[in-house]
């Protein structure tokens, strides 16, 4: 049985704002699923519907085969949530918040151990509303982990965390996943999703524009690998442009930039240039995933909104199937 399944899930606000547009999504038991998209793509709205914070305009959402709206109580028994837009408003300490989560979940976890796991045990005696954003995020994450849930739903979990915190959270997520916990987390940060997830769904403007493994997405990308060579003297363009897999070459002063449609062509570029002039420095950029993200999402809020051409979504989904 899938952990999460949505069928034609739709949410409109007012007359014209379509936050989520007939979303069909299936998250299998035990996978780590990254839910990716720019700000305002509909990620949180989707999560809020899974948690019954907001009600769908059309379609349905199921968690563990139970209707998200009708059986929210039974669902909440089995999930751990790091919500978006939470607040520690009450005059309670971090420890008391953790104890409250453990008590409400009727869990046999030791609150101290959870506080320790997320690295705020030393500050647990302080009032949680006085915590920094990162510490609050750690506490909220710890509360989500109580009672070893079958499904972790994490909405932008790395918000406010320092690099160590992000690293640590990732390893905790991986540990829990290794024990069989399904993880569903949203992010607008590619590297984060790339580092942890088995499978990724990309949302844009309320629609799921791609769903695949990281490798699958990479393969389906038309993204270019680039190599930049800093030379002792001005290199020549000819001889490099003919290399199979090189799509464009540009020389500015002593710098040669080659864009390769086939990443493996980069090596040949370096060899060829090195045979002509002395190469001082090499800068290779293989992350076509950033570009891929931009292609899928049309640059998000900062782009012109047109979804890039050259990616056949149907193909990429079939490739993963």
């Amino acid at each position: 049985m899938p952990s999460i399944q949505t069928n034609g899930l739709t949410k409109t606000f007012g007359e014209s704002v379509v936050a989520v547009d007939s979303l069909d999504l299936t998250i299998e038991d035990g996978e780590i699923f990254g839910f990716l998209g720019p700000n305002g793509a509909g990620k949180s709205t989707t999560i809020n519907m899974l948690l019954d914070f907001i009600r769908p305009t059309a379609g349905s959402a199921e968690v563990f085969g139970m209707d998200a709206q009708d059986e929210c109580a039974a669902i909440r028994e089995r999930i751990g949530v790091l919500p978006e837009g939470y607040g520690f408003d009450d005059y309670l300490t971090g420890r008391e918040y953790m104890e409250w989560a453990v008590e409400t979940k009727d869990a046999d976890d030791d609150p101290e151990q959870l506080l320790d796991l997320v690295g705020i045990r030393e500050d647990a005696g302080r009032v949680a509303s006085g915590y920094s954003k990162g510490m609050q995020q750690r506490l909220a994450f710890g509360m989500a982990l109580a009672d070893d849930p079958d499904l972790l739903i994490l909405d932008e979990p790395s918000t406010g965390l320092d690099p160590n915190g992000i690293q640590h959270m990732r390893s905790v997520i991986r540990d829990r996943a290794a024990d069989g916990t399904t993880v569903f987390f949203s992010s607008h940060i590619l590297s984060e999703v790339e580092a942890v997830c088995d499978r990724v769904g990309v949302m844009n403007e309320g629609e799921l524009v791609a769903i695949d493994s990281i490798e699958g997405l990479r393969e389906s990308a038309t993204g270019q690998a680039t190599v930049e060579l800093e030379c002792a003297s001005a290199p020549r363009v000819d001889g490099v442009a003919d290399i199979p897999g090189v799509s464009a070459v540009d020389v500015a002063d002593t710098t040669l930039t080659a864009e390769c449609s086939d990443p493996s062509a980069k090596v040949e570029v370096v060899k060829r240039v090195d045979s002509q002039v002395e190469v001082v420095d090499i800068l290779a950029d293989n992350t076509s995933l950033e570009e891929l993200f931009n292609q899928f999402t049309g640059g998000g809020r900062d782009g012109d909104g047109s979804v890039g051409e050259g990616i056949d979504l149907e193909d990429s989904q079939e490739a993963s199937a």
Binding site: N48, L51, D52, F53, I54, R55, C72, A73, R76, E77, I79, G80, V81, P83, E84, G85, Y86, G87, F88, D89, D90, Y91, L92, E96, Y97, W100, A101, E103, T104, K105, D106, A140, M143, A144
Partner: protein
């Protein structure tokens, strides 16, 4: 089970509010002051103490709605605006357990304030008069707690309907204006408005019973008349004078009995029950349907 956990956490946080403690102490001092200045009533010690608690209820009639509204108007709206609702509903709680838990906890807070006043008033009564008319003390206490609960219900309903702090504040102000001020303020009170509509606009003959019935829809008047139920006949108040025949004196038991049933003191619990239950049902229905973002 989860209802209790919600209430416990809410109550725990409230107990740490310095503002609430300050309010409780002020209430206690007010009650002690009332106990100190009252005491010129005719009769023996027990009479003095009955008079004291009667004056206390007069004060509570206007004060307690404020206490209950202030204590409860943010119960749900504050959680929604501050994001606490995200944790409440991520954990194994339902909206019902959150709503009922908040109801219990805020009632507990208001009851705590009332307890402060009663302890202060009882202490003064015992030291000054050495009398303890239990029927009046516990009778008014019970009715006062119910009265406080009606405004907790109303405030909770307001809080459920309001998605933000500022709207909840407006709702609390509006409630007090509508349910207390507009029933007792001369000329613009609901009874006077009903009279004006009935006689001037509709050109009908004056019908005091009707206007008094309109007045009686207020929890404020219902409380004052419910208090009559536990007071001796000569201490009763608000007997709807305009509905009384000429030959019945205000202080006699007959002053209540000659009224139509719907104007009698015995009808007060019905009015209070309405304000206790109906706002809760509306508030819960609104909260159950709301999109919580």
């Amino acid at each position: 089970m989860s209802t209790v956990t919600v209430a416990k956490k809410d109550f725990k946080a409230a107990r740490r509010s310095k503002l609430l403690w300050a309010a409780a102490i002020v209430l206690g001092l007010i009650a002690a002051f009332v106990g100190y200045v009252s005491g010129n009533a005719p009769g023996g010690d027990a009479e003095q103490v009955r008079a004291l608690f009667r004056v206390l209820t007069l004060l509570l009639a206007v004060l307690l709605p404020i206490v209950a509204l202030v204590a409860s108007y943010l119960a749900i709206a504050g959680e929604r605006e501050g994001g606490g609702i995200k944790f409440l509903l991520s954990l194994p709680n339902t909206r019902r357990s959150v709503f009922v838990g908040k109801l219990l906890s805020r009632n507990g807070i208001v009851a705590g304030g009332v307890a402060f006043m009663y302890v202060a008033a009882i202490s003064v009564a015992l030291t000054r008069h050495g009398a303890f008319p239990a029927a009046v003390v516990f009778g008014t206490l019970l009715i006062t707690l119910v009265y406080g609960s009606t405004f907790v219900s109303i405030a909770l309903a307001m809080s459920s309907a309001a998605a933000s702090r500022s709207r909840a504040i407006a709702g609390a102000f509006g409630t007090y204006l509508l349910l207390v001020i507009l029933y007792v303020f001369p000329v613009v009170s609901f009874g006077d408005i009903a009279r004006w509509v009935h006689t001037t606009l509709l050109g009908a003959d004056a019908n005091p019973d009707l206007y008094n019935a309109v007045q009686y829809t207020s929890p404020y008047l219902a409380y004052r008349k419910a208090v009559n139920l536990v007071l001796p006949a000569d201490m009763r108040q608000i007997v709807f004078y305009s509905s009384l025949p000429e030959d019945v004196s205000y202080g006699s038991p007959a002053a209540n009995e000659v009224l139509p049933l719907y104007l009698q003191d015995e009808f007060a619990p019905v009015v209070l029950a309405f304000w206790l239950v109906v706002p809760l049902l509306i508030g819960y229905a609104l909260f159950e349907r709301a999109d919580l973002e």
